[in-house]
Symmetry: C2
Subunit: 406 residues, 2 copies
């Protein structure tokens, strides 16, 4: 008898009909003899509706009280799922985060799990219950309710799987798994049967939003096997695991893309120690998250520096960067939201020479100009004009023969 942790997102519990659907699925898993711990998000738009309500109280939304308010969403869906399962003659009990022993730090609205006291959960499992846990929440050292930030239910599920030594953590969602590229753009995109933690992390942070990056980190850290699969079909999903033999079969696992990009370029920046620090510390202090940074080769003692940020922060960033141009005595700047980022991700590229070169070739063959390049051990990203993004994804998918993945 194994233990399985199953997480269902907001769209899977958006109505009582949907809750009944997943209750049937959970009962099927339970009937096979496994112990089941379920983690649920709030129903559909509940969290957004509560935020909307709170915003009517005034401008200053105390984070401690927001957590108190928002945590009720998951408590409700957990109780409703328990009521449903009990009506399906499948014995179950719902637990809040604090009842489940989930301890966190006191960073309200973005708390981190510091540990899980699993006594109550284990006791309920021993009594034959399916244990349903309100995701996204914990208890601070002060005894206050915290939330883990949006998408935090994934983290709850992975952390529980780690602490309970579960066989697997199943993340039920509205997609079938992790694909080689966005299936809406590339018709031939294939569902990946397996993907490594590192690849998932790169994919997740690049916008393939099937698993929260923090949850993927947690899974890697504690070596938890995670399966991402659809709650609406019975097809196998994508298993995220430590893949030892990855280098043998493919260099590139998937093409990720991100349209939410804006770019800045600063010209003739003096080549002096401390200039980059001034630039990026100021942006960080303004809570503007910088993604790719490129510094061109020095010419006559001056550099060009370019970087990208999230598109939604562009208007806020413009006056900040304008001030910096003056301060550091650059000769000028340009900016724009007309760019996008396309990336190839694959643990196999570490042992395959020429992967980056093949990427640049594929883009060049399509006549696509590359503005910026950034690399990690298992990823190559190019910033290109946004109008070329679909062509770029399709070309790269062909180049690396991702339609042939089994």
């Amino acid at each position: 008898m194994s233990l399985i942790v199953a997480k269902f997102g907001g769209s899977s519990v958006a109505s009582i009909d949907k809750i009944k659907h997943i209750a049937g699925r959970i009962k099927g898993m339970r009937d096979k003899g496994d112990d089941i711990v379920v983690v649920v998000s709030a129903m559909g738009d509940t969290t957004d509706e509560l935020i909307e309500l709170a915003s009517l109280t005034g401008h200053d939304l105390c984070k401690r009280e927001m957590d108190m308010l928002l945590a009720t969403g998951e408590q409700q869906s957990a109780a409703l799922l328990a009521l449903t399962l009990n009506n399906f003659a499948c014995s179950s009990i719902s637990l809040t985060g604090w009842q489940a022993g989930i301890k966190s730090d006191d960073s309200h609205s973005k708390a981190r799990i510091t540990g899980i006291e699993t006594g109550r959960i284990k006791n309920e499992l021993k009594q034959g219950n399916v244990v349903i846990i309100a995701g996204f929440q914990g208890l601070s050292p002060q005894g206050d309710i915290t939330t883990l930030g949006r998408g935090g239910s994934d983290t709850t599920a992975v952390a529980l799987a780690a602490c309970l030594d579960a066989l697997r953590c199943m993340i039920f969602t509205d997609v079938e798994g992790v694909f080689t590229a966005d299936p809406r753009i590339v018709k031939e995109a294939k569902k990946l049967p397996q993907i490594s933690y590192e690849e998932m992390l790169e994919m997740a942070s690049l916008g393939a939003g099937v698993l929260q990056p923090r949850a993927a980190e947690f899974a890697m850290l504690y070596n938890v096997d995670v399966e991402v699969l659809s709650s609406f079909s019975h097809n196998p999903g994508t298993i995220i695991t430590e893949v030892a033999n990855m280098e043998n079969h493919r260099a590139v696992s998937g093409i990720a893309h991100d349209l939410n990009c804006a770019r800045f370029a600063l010209f003739d920046v003096p080549d002096q120690p401390g200039i980059a620090k001034t630039l990026f510390k100021t942006l960080a202090a303004e809570n503007i998250n910088v993604d790719i940074i490129i510094q061109s080769a020095m010419r006559d003692g001056r550099n060009d520096i370019a970087f990208t940020i999230e598109e939604k922060e562009l208007s806020r960033a413009i006056p900040v960067v304008e001030g910096l141009v003056k301060k550091i005595c650059a000769s000028g700047m340009t900016y724009g939201n007309d760019v996008a980022k396309v990336s190839i991700v694959g643990a196999g590229m570490q042992s395959n020479i020429g992967v980056a070169a093949a990427m640049f070739e594929a883009l060049a063959d399509e006549g696509i100009n590359i503005h910026m390049i950034s690399t990690s051990e298992i990823r190559v990203s190019c910033v290109i004009d946004e109008c070329h993004i679909k062509a770029a994804i399709k070309a790269l998918h062909r180049k690396f023969e991702l339609d042939k993945i089994e």
Copy 2:
């Protein structure tokens, strides 16, 4: 500096606008220098909506899970009030029942408070916070969330006032206080400035629903001064307290009535030991609550027995009583929902001779026939035809000169 416990019901927190209204009122109280503990119910129809949602999950509604679900309503309104007060620059913090240290037994859906560990509340007060507590809920010895049953927020408030040794427990509601009769029926009805615990208990159980009977019991037991007042006006309300000098000034404090009555009469019941037991134990086993019971004087070794029940239980009760008539060999029965109960209530009647007689006289003068009479130390109730109820209330109000109460 005194401590005041203020409770606001569902209609007082039904929208953010209403929450802002009471937040202004709470800030006004706080600015006078008192420490304030606030108890809130769920917003408007939240509890009914959650019950409706739960009913879609199936027929069997596990009480433990219903408590888990319903307790979120008060948690939400507490958090929203705290957000509002903080936006009004009135420092506040919301606490769930378990955070406030409210311990209960494990009778889910109708739990009783067994004690309050006031450490956290006192600590928050010391830090200058208005402490807002989710009413209607507690924590069982098993660590589960319980609810105190509908209207339980009144009990939470009175219990907190008792344990915190508060100067007063203010119950804000949508009426101005306790009246000498229903103002919709008697134009001259006066708001009572004061009323004793015992009178309030009789009034409450007779349907003058301004304070839950259990809360009134709690207040009497722990000698808590309770003020019932309107959250929409600034008029003083009715103070419920131990009134030592009551007997000096009035025999009758108010006229209560109850339209939710149905009557049964059983004829020629054998006068044998155990007959009454058979009758009323059977009704109790069917969960049919019997109010007034009358046994007429014996004639030829047989009695007539009449009793009243709640009108809504009539159709369920008829077959039960029909079976009993056969079993106990009575000669027949009648029943009907055409009756109502009118009562005079007053602590002063204990030391005033002839109060009951004056009541019967007033009804007789109006030509109103009395079907049944029941008395307690501070109450006389008459069951009459429902069609006469308004005339009866008006006549009694005049007879006892309740329009002259100051």
